[in-house]
C-alpha cells in the first residue's frame, strides 16, 4: 500500500530524472554541431541578438556553399543555441549540457568576459575547442587553457592608440575623467585607460565606478562637470552609455574629447543618440570600413558587409562580425585539419596564421588573438569614421563634443 506522501515524492523524483534523461537528438552523419550559449533573456539580451546574427549569417553562407569540407566530404553546419538568462552559472551549466547531452562538436564561448571565463573551465575539461567571440579581458586567458581561443585582442590595444591620437591631435587636453561600469569588461578597460593616460602625462582628475543598474547619473555628471576635464572617458554597455550621454546633454556638458566604449560601435547607439553622438570617439576590434582580403568564406571585408546588409538591412558592428568570424575560423581550422577530431582541430586553430575579413588572425600561446590592430573611430555626420590605423583611415580627428 502506498503512503499518500509517496505520491509527491515519486512524482517529483520522476520529473527531476526525466529532465536530464531527455534523449538528445541523434547526431546525423553529415552535420557539424556548434554549441552557442547566449544570454537570450536577461540584461544582456541585446548582445545575444547581435551575436546570433553573426553566427546565423556564417552558418547560412557555409551551408549555401554546400557545407564544410572535411577531407573531401561536405558537412552541413548546425548551431545549437541555448539561453543562459544572462546568468553566469547557467552559462556553465548549459556549456556542459551542450557538450554531454546535445553532442556538439565545437563550442562558441558565452557572451562577455565573465561568462566566457567561467564556461571555459568546462570546455577545457572536456577538451572541446572553443572560440570566445566577445571576451577581451586578459583575465580570461591567463589561465592558459589549451582549448580556448578568443577573437578580441587585450583591452590595452584599444586604449593605447586612442591615447596616442588624442595626445597628438589635441595638445590642450590635460585633464581626464574616467567613469566605469562596475563590471568585468568595462572596469578592466577603464583601468587600462587610467594606466595609459598616466603613462602619457595626462592628469586623471576623476576615476569612479558606477553600480550596474544605475538609473540616474546626474549627480555624478555634475561633479565631473565641476572638475572641468577636457577628456571624458566613459565605459559600459550600450544602455548605460545612452543614458549617460543623454544626461550629459541635459547638463550641458561640453568637452573637447568624449570617448565611450563600447556603445558607439553599434548602429543603434548612433541612431538612438542622434545629434548627441556627434564627435564621440571610440575604439573597437573591427570596423566595416576595414579592407582586408580574407581567405575565409566571406573573402573581402566589403563582401562581408554586403552580405550582412542584404540579410539584416543594417551595417554590421564588431560584435556581429566577431561572431561570424569565429564561425569562419572554425571552418578554416576544420578544413585545414581535414578531420572532426577535436584535438586536431584545436591544433589547427593554434597554428592558424591567416588573413580574414576580420583581419589577420594568429592566436598567442594563451589562446588570445595577437595579430589585430583595432581601429579607433569617431562619429562624424552620423557615421563612424576611422581615424586609425592609417591604412584604413577615413578622416581626421575632430575636437569638441557638445
Amino acid at each position: 500500500m502506498f503512503h499518500p506522501r509517496f505520491g509527491c515524492v515519486s512524482a517529483s523524483l520522476l520529473l527531476a530524472l526525466a529532465s536530464f534523461a531527455v534523449p538528445s537528438p541523434a547526431s546525423a552523419e553529415d552535420v557539424i554541431r556548434f554549441g552557442a550559449p547566449l544570454p537570450i533573456t536577461g540584461p544582456l539580451a541585446p548582445e545575444a541578438a547581435a551575436q546570433q546574427m553573426g553566427y546565423n549569417l556564417w552558418a547560412e553562407e557555409a551551408n549555401k556553399a554546400g557545407g564544410i569540407n572535411v577531407g573531401g566530404k561536405k558537412y552541413k553546419v548546425e548551431i545549437v543555441y541555448g539561453d543562459y538568462q544572462s546568468n553566469t552559472p547557467r552559462s556553465v551549466q548549459i556549456t556542459e549540457q551542450m557538450i554531454t547531452q546535445d553532442n556538439v562538436n565545437f563550442m562558441f564561448g558565452p557572451f562577455g568576459s565573465g561568462a566566457a571565463k567561467a564556461a571555459s573551465t568546462i570546455s577545457e575539461k572536456y577538451k572541446v575547442p572553443t572560440i570566445a567571440a566577445s571576451a577581451s579581458s586578459s583575465q580570461v586567458y591567463d589561465q592558459n587553457y589549451k582549448y580556448l581561443f578568443g577573437t578580441f585582442t587585450p583591452n590595452d590595444t584599444l586604449t593605447t592608440p586612442l591615447t596616442g591620437i588624442i595626445k597628438a591631435k589635441a595638445p590642450d587636453v590635460k585633464k581626464v575623467a574616467i567613469l566605469a561600469r562596475n563590471d568585468l569588461f568595462p572596469l578592466a578597460i577603464a583601468q587600462e585607460m587610467e594606466k595609459s593616460a598616466k603613462a602619457n602625462g595626462f592628469e586623471v582628475v576623476y576615476f569612479e565606478k558606477y553600480a550596474i543598474n544605475t538609473l540616474d547619473h546626474s549627480a555624478t555628471l555634475s561633479q565631473i562637470k565641476s572638475l572641468a576635464p577636457q577628456w571624458i572617458f566613459v565605459t559600459g554597455y550600450i544602455n548605460d552609455l545612452l543614458l549617460i550621454r543623454k544626461q550629459m546633454t541635459d547638463q550641458q556638458m561640453k568637452a573637447p574629447v568624449v570617448t565611450m566604449i563600447a556603445g558607439p560601435a553599434y548602429q543603434t547607439f548612433i541612431e538612438t543618440a542622434g545629434q548627441s553622438a556627434e564627435n564621440i570617439s571610440s575604439a573597437s576590434w573591427w570596423h566595416p570600413a576595414e579592407q582586408y582580403d580574407g581567405k575565409d568564406i566571406f573573402g573581402k571585408t566589403s563582401n562581408f558587409v554586403k552580405l550582412f546588409k542584404a540579410k539584416y538591412n543594417s551595417d554590421p558592428d564588431y560584435a556581429q562580425a566577431s561572431a561570424a568570424a569565429s564561425g569562419a575560423l572554425f571552418q578554416m581550422a576544420i578544413e585545414k585539419a581535414g578531420s572532426l577530431d577535436r584535438d586536431k582541430v584545436r591544433d589547427a586553430l593554434a597554428s592558424l596564421d591567416v588573413m580574414t575579413f576580420w583581419g589577420p588572425v594568429k592566436f598567442g600561446s594563451n589562446g588570445q588573438i595577437n595579430s589585430l590592430e583595432p581601429p579607433v573611430f569617431q562619429i562624424q555626420n552620423a557615421k563612424p569614421v576611422v581615424l586609425y590605423p592609417d591604412a584604413i583611415k577615413q578622416g581626421e580627428f575632430k575636437l569638441g563634443v557638445n
Binding site: T41, P43, Y210, L215, S226, I238, L242, T249, T272, G274
Partner: protein, 288 residues
C-alpha cells in the same frame, strides 16, 4: 555651485521617483500586496508612449490621456480575475503570484519588443535651461511638473470623490470600512487599477528621460520599494517625501562617496528606516 546643482538635480529626480513609486505605494497600502509587476507596468507605459510617438506622432502628453484608462482597465481586470482569488492568503502567496505575473509580462515584452534599448527623442529636442551655472533639462522639468500634477490629481481623487474616500477608509481600517458598508472587493480592484494607471502614466513620463527596455523594470521596482519605505506607505505626501529623500541621498552619496556607493547607501538607509522608523517619514503605523 556644485552643491546647488546637485540639490536641484535631486529635487527634480525626487519628483520622478515619487511618480514611479506612488502607484506601488497605493496598492501596498490598500490591498496589503507587494506588487512586483509594478516595474513592468512602467516599462509597458514607456513602450506605449514610444510607440504612439514613433508610429502615430502622438506626443507623450496626449499618450497620458489614453494610457491612464487603458492601464486602469488592465489592472482592474487583473485584480478581479486573478489577484482577488488569493487576496486573503499570506503575504508570500500574493507576492509570489505577482512575481509570476511579472515573469509573464516581462517575457512577453522581451518577445514582442526585443530587449534592445529604445529611446523616445522628441524633435526638436527640448534642451535645457540654465540660470547662472545651474542647469535644468526641460524634459525633466516637464515630466516633473506632470508627475506633480498626477500626484495632485490622485490626492484630489482620494480626498474629494466617494470612491477615493472609500479607498482611504479601507487603507486605514479594513474592518471598519466593511462595517461602514464599503464594498471592499471592488475597492481593491479600483485601487489596483489606479495603481496600474499611475504606473502606466509614470512609464509614459519616464520614456522621455530613460532608455526603454523590458530590462529596466527591476530598477524601477527597486526605486519604488525604497521610496515607499522611506516616505511611508500609501500616502501621496509620503511618496513625495520618500522620493526626495532618496534622490538627495543618492546625489550626495555619489558626489562624496562615489557613484558606486550611492546605491549601497540608499539600501542601508532603507534598512535603518525599517528598523528605527517603519512608518516612514510621513506615514503612520499601519499594516505590518
Amino acid at each position: 555651485m556644485l552643491a546647488v546643482q546637485v540639490l536641484i538635480n535631486a529635487l527634480v529626480l525626487g519628483c520622478l521617483y515619487a511618480c514611479i513609486a506612488i502607484g506601488f505605494s497605493l496598492v501596498w497600502g490598500v490591498l496589503n500586496v507587494i506588487n512586483l509587476i509594478h516595474g513592468s507596468f512602467i516599462v509597458l507605459g514607456a513602450y506605449l508612449a514610444w510607440g504612439a510617438y514613433q508610429w502615430a506622432h502622438i506626443s507623450p502628453w496626449y499618450a497620458l490621456l489614453f494610457a491612464a484608462p487603458l492601464f486602469f482597465g488592465f489592472g482592474y481586470l487583473l485584480q478581479r480575475l486573478l489577484l482577488n482569488r488569493v487576496i486573503s492568503a499570506p503575504v508570500l502567496v500574493t507576492l509570489t503570484l505577482t512575481f509570476g505575473l511579472d515573469l509573464i509580462l516581462n517575457n512577453a515584452m522581451i518577445y514582442y519588443f526585443k530587449a534592445d534599448y529604445r529611446k523616445l527623442t522628441l524633435s526638436p529636442p527640448t534642451g535645457s535651461i540654465s540660470l547662472f551655472d545651474v542647469v535644468v533639462p526641460v524634459d525633466r522639468l516637464i515630466a516633473t511638473a506632470s508627475a506633480l500634477a498626477l500626484t495632485g490629481l490622485l490626492y484630489l481623487l482620494l480626498r474629494r470623490s466617494k470612491v477615493g474616500r472609500a479607498i482611504v477608509a479601507v487603507r486605514l481600517d479594513r474592518d471598519a470600512a466593511v462595517l461602514m458598508g464599503v464594498d471592499v472587493k471592488s475597492i481593491y480592484a479600483v485601487a489596483f487599477g489606479l495603481g496600474a494607471a499611475l504606473a502606466g502614466c509614470a512609464g509614459v513620463l519616464m520614456a522621455l528621460i530613460f532608455p526603454i527596455s523590458p530590462l529596466t523594470s527591476s530598477a524601477y521596482l527597486g526605486k519604488a520599494f525604497v521610496v515607499c519605505v522611506l516616505g511611508g506607505l500609501g500616502s501621496v505626501s509620503g511618496a513625495l517625501a520618500g522620493g526626495l529623500l532618496l534622490a538627495l541621498v543618492e546625489g550626495i552619496g555619489s558626489v562624496y562617496l562615489g557613484p558606486a556607493h550611492a546605491t549601497t547607501l540608499s539600501f542601508v538607509l532603507l534598512i535603518v528606516f525599517l528598523v528605527a522608523r517603519p512608518q516612514g517619514l510621513l506615514g503612520r503605523k499601519g499594516f505590518e
